[in-house]
Amino acid sequence: MTSPTITQVLLSLVLVAISIAVARWWRIPVAKDMALGSVRTFIQLIAVGYALELIFDLESLWLIALAILIMITVGAHAASSRIKQSKGAFPVTFAAMIIGSLFTLVAMLLLDIIPLEARYVIPLAGMIISNSMNASALAIDRLFSDIQSNRPAIETALSLGKSWRVASGKFQRDAATTGMISILNFMKTVGIVALPGAMTGMILAGAEPLEAVLLQVIVAYMLLSSVTITSVVAVELTVRKFFTPFHQLR
């Protein structure tokens, strides 16, 4: 496939029209969301296309860092707003995402897996950050619901002389696992059920399949690292809010 033209993009709107028609036929009240979403997709992606072109051309480290910071800030805000039970989770999601994402990116640079070029760093950072965003939101949400619904278990453990960390250990581990579950499931089925995005993109752009597969393997390992670190940090920073310094459940 050669680079898509604007005509091809416009033609693909037929698929949007079909989706809206099906929604209306089934009286699913999402037709408006579909139309707006399609327009937003177009505008946002075109805008980001121009922004990336500019960043790639300038090749400035500061610009790369700024782009990553903006992506993490927006992602952390989106993650915290998805956590229904906790107001003010932004500092936690931000810290967890920045630690998980930057650790992974820096490790990849130090190991010389990717070069320090905007063309490589920015797209991979985008993948890392969006996965970290989901991981932090899921992990924190699970921790809140588990601790609130398991107060008797936690207080029983505390009353037996266990520390808050031991008393809530199972719920911390469950929450961290919840944050990691999508990447773990992805790794179980990757290549069998679906061909993932990075690999598909490369193949569509004309790369050799084996070359695309190698990149996808790196992407999978990279996401595993960022999601694991983000989930653990998010749980670690959140769980302390539930306990007093005297090992009491708030």
């Binding site: 278990a153 207080e155 037996l160 002389g161 266990k162 005297f246």
Partner: protein, 250 residues
């Protein structure tokens, strides 16, 4: 500060509350949970705490177990302020059994080992025998136990940490009469055999009479009367005591 209410003359003190109080914010108001509660509990004795709902009985136990912090006043254990103990250490010395027993998953033995993973061999069997748990039950899954059996296991698990004071928060409220009687007998036996101090909250004055020992009557967060259970329940000396006896306190 209210005058201290002493146990019987000649008791060796084990636990003492001095002007203990707890207030919580309820919307814009301050709610009094416990108000200037002073009492001296003697070693190896049994106490029942009676009073209408909302009198602060369970809240007192939570403070004694340091699951909550008092707003004012002190708790002394063996003459030493409990704030000088690490909370986890204190809770092993002052154990607490809640109204609805919570058992950790897996077997009865696993629950004993949760309280102390380094239990010497044979201790599980000895403790089980002490609280009349048949040996056939030790390796049973706790999910298969009745509520009465669970309460017995929870009581035995509490003894694993070798507490000197045992707090029981309405331990028979969820049990049928036959189990209630067996738990009452067990509590009396434990006090007799192990020289433990037991402080038991009950909603039923008749249960306090069956248990014996001393009784504390609490109303609206205050200690209004204390002394031998027969006297406090059948021949109260205060107006609130008479109202409680006449079941006119809600």
């Amino acid at each position: 500060m209210a005058k201290r209410n002493n146990s019987q003359q000649g008791d060796v003190p084990i636990l003492e509350t001095v002007g203990l109080s707890r207030f919580v914010r309820d919307g814009g108001n301050i709610k009094i949970i416990l108000d200037d509660f002073s009492f001296l509990f003697g070693k190896g004795r049994i106490y029942t705490i009676i009073g209408p709902s909302g009198a602060g009985k369970s809240s007192l136990l939570r403070l004694l177990n340091r699951l909550d912090e008092p707003t004012g006043g002190d708790i002394l254990f063996g003459g030493k302020n409990t704030k000088e103990f690490a909370p986890c250490q204190l809770r092993r010395l002052i154990g607490c059994l809640f109204q609805t027993p919570y058992l950790f998953p897996k077997t009865v033995r696993d629950n004993f080992l949760y309280a102390d993973s380094k239990l010497p061999s044979g201790t599980v069997e000895r403790l089980a025998e002490q609280v009349q748990i048949p040996s056939s039950m030790i390796d049973r899954d706790v999910e298969t136990l009745s509520i009465g059996e669970k309460q017995r296991v929870a009581l035995a698990r509490l003894l694993v940490t070798n507490p000197e004071v045992v707090l029981l928060d309405e331990p028979t409220s969820a049990l049928d009469p036959s189990y209630t009687e067996s738990i009452e007998n067990l509590v009396k036996a434990i006090v007799r055999q192990m020289s433990l101090t037991v402080i038991m909250v009950t909603h039923h004055p008749e249960q306090a009479l069956r248990i014996g020992g001393e009784t504390i009557l609490m109303v609206a967060g205050r200690l209004v009367e204390s002394g031998p259970c027969e006297r406090v329940i059948k021949d109260p000396q205060t107006e609130e005591g008479h109202l409680y006896k006449a079941k006119r306190l809600k």
